[in-house]
């Protein structure tokens, strides 16, 4: 570090500042790009420029050629000559072109009689400091993002309604021909049993399987689309009995354990929907398990105004990025081998739970093991 020497020509001694230090300061500021100077003649043609900041301005061109921000104020600039000391300011403009954009600039114009020229003082400027700009931008982004979410949820509601109507119509209309197809396969098999080859019989078998699969999908679809239209009769439901019945209807094997823990009260609630929710959640846990040692726990608990149901499995778990999509109709993340994948189970659960004013979420397992935990909050009292 060298101290400025007192003999430096540019350092103001005493209180008198001569021309020399002014020239030095002017030069330093211009070289550092803080300021730039442009001179223009009476016809507003640029005659000279000084400083890095105005390096892009072409000498000999009209001042508006490179500073198009001055288009429209040419007459105001000319008027400066008539009023000594008058200024014209064009604040905070950036000039954007194909390959570059100038920084935000303040343009300050005046007539310098001594030089018989207009002077345009060009300064780098900012509207507020960087933090303020970031903040302003962030606030606006939020505003717009919120508006977009609102618009999208409206759109989604409409799409869901469409899907519902569509699903209801097609599932209903397709069921009869589907059933007819199955009967015809049966008839064919009877007729051909004596004469047909093994291949044909097997083919018919596969046809029957596919047809009944499709029948199941259609029933699922009909079920899905009729949620919310069901009459809302309330019954006293023994939830423990309900969950036990469901589990006994699911085939248990040596490598498949389903346990029921916690409190299972009797609720005055919608039985059919609650049944569907439990059944689908347990079903889902069984189907989407790819290992051999299936362990599923169903836990009940009264939690304030809600009955909390947690269904946890020791399957592969669900990545956070899939957790929203999983509740959409016909979404399956994993193709379960052999088992029927209808892809509506969780969509049904989601619709039922939200239609009764409850909630559903997916949690990770708290004990560090892999697996998913579906948590349903079922309202203790069902409002109309």
């Amino acid at each position: 570090m060298t101290r400025p020497s007192p003999s430096n020509a540019a350092s103001p001694k005493d209180n008198k500042v001569g021309d020399a230090p002014l020239i030095v300061v002017g030069r330093v500021l211009a070289e550092r790009g803080h300021y730039g100077f442009l001179w223009a003649d009476e016809d507003l043609v640029v005659t000279a420029s000084y400083g890095r900041l105005v390096g892009f301005v072409t000498i000999g061109e009209d001042i508006t050629f490179d500073l198009p921000a001055l288009v429209g104020v040419e007459n105001d600039i000319r008027a400066l000559k008539e009023t000594p000391g008058a200024l014209l300011e064009m604040p905070a403009v950036a000039i954007v072109s194909h390959d570059s954009s100038t920084p935000r600039l303040n343009l300050l114009l005046m007539w310098i009689g001594e030089q018989d020229s207009y002077l345009c003082l060009v300064m780098r400027t900012r509207i507020g400091n960087e933090t303020e700009i970031d903040l302003a931008q962030e606030v606006r982004r939020r505003l717009i993002a919120e508006a977009e979410v609102k618009a999208k949820s409206k759109e989604l509601a409409r799409a869901n309604k469409d899907l519902e109507d569509y699903a209801s119509v097609i599932s209903h209309d397709l069921q009869a021909p589907m059933r007819a197809l199955r009967y015809q396969v049966d008839d064919l098999e009877v007729a051909l049993r004596e004469t047909a080859s093994q291949d044909v019989i097997q083919g018919l078998d596969r046809m029957r399987t596919q047809a009944s699969r499709m029948g199941q999908m259609l029933s699922a679809l009909l079920e899905y689309s009729s949620i919310g239209r069901k009459s809302a009769a309330l019954f006293d439901v023994d939830t423990r009995a309900l969950v036990n019945t469901i589990i006994s209807s699911i085939e248990q094997g040596p490598e498949r354990t389903i346990t029921v823990t916690g409190d299972w009260p009797t609720l005055t609630t919608l039985e059919q929907p609650l049944d569907l929710v439990l059944r689908n959640l347990i079903d889902n846990a069984v189907k989407h398990h790819c290992g051999s040692d299936i362990n599923i726990n169903v836990q009940g608990k009264m939690l304030g105004e809600h009955f909390e149901i947690k269904v946890s499995d020791n399957g592969p778990g669900i990545a956070p990025e899939h957790q929203d999509a999983i509740f959409l109709p016909f979404r399956t993340l994993r193709k379960a081998e052999g088992d029927e994948v209808r892809g509506l189970g969780l969509a049904i659960v989601h619709r039922i739970v939200t239609s009764v004013g409850g909630g559903i979420s997916i949690l990770g397992r708290s004990d560090g093991q892999t697996g998913a935990v579906f948590r349903v909050l079922w309202p203790k009292t069902i409002l109309d």
Binding site: P68, I95, S97, H98, R104, I127, A136, R140, I144, A147
Partner: protein, 169 residues
């Protein structure tokens, strides 16, 4: 012929910057970078056979937060035309557009003002039909645009060039 100044006005986030970027560079960015201040672009309208001999535009992409205060600012000085942008997916921006339209007509009587209903790509099936209430008045020039797809972006500016030329003739 000297360049003409065209103002892009309208509420925040309606797509003013996106429109000028589509016009001048033929590009579109889905991320929102709010304009704090004004950005100035040059765009040359090519000559065409609908009464436009070609014209140079200086397009002022303004900050959506200026609102009607811009009419008291040096920025608006001698503007030849204004494009007043609203966002079809956000009806609240129609009110702002209507008030900017009034403000511009008052500040610069006789100058061309066009209302652009932008983001038409977002509102399927609304690319025609009745106008939103605040904008439904006689004599308003109006176009449905999309900076995303480019729909009517060039047309908006080319029509403006024709209108300016007609006024000067």
């Amino acid at each position: 012929m000297s360049a003409r100044k065209v103002m892009l006005l309208g509420d925040i986030g309606v797509g003013k910057s996106s429109i000028v970027q589509r016009l001048v560079f033929d590009r579109f960015d889905t991320t929102y970078k709010p304009t704090i201040g004004v950005d100035i672009y040059r765009y040359d309208v090519p000559p065409s056979d609908n009464g436009n001999d070609g014209m140079s535009f200086i397009v002022w992409d303004t900050d959506g937060n200026f609102g009607n205060a811009i009419f008291r600012h040096v920025y608006i000085r001698d503007a030849a035309a204004a494009m007043i942008v609203a966002d079809l997916s956000r009806p609240e921006t129609f009110e702002t557009a209507a008030s900017l339209y009034e403000g511009f007509k008052e500040a610069l009587p006789g100058r061309q003002a066009t209302i652009l209903l932008n983001k038409v790509d977002l509102v399927e099936g609304q690319n025609c039909g009745p106008l939103p209430a605040p904008l439904d008045r006689a004599g308003v020039t109006l176009l449905r645009t999309s900076a995303k797809s480019g729909t009517h972006v060039q047309k908006a500016f080319h029509d403006t060039a024709v209108a300016i030329q007609r006024r000067l003739a």
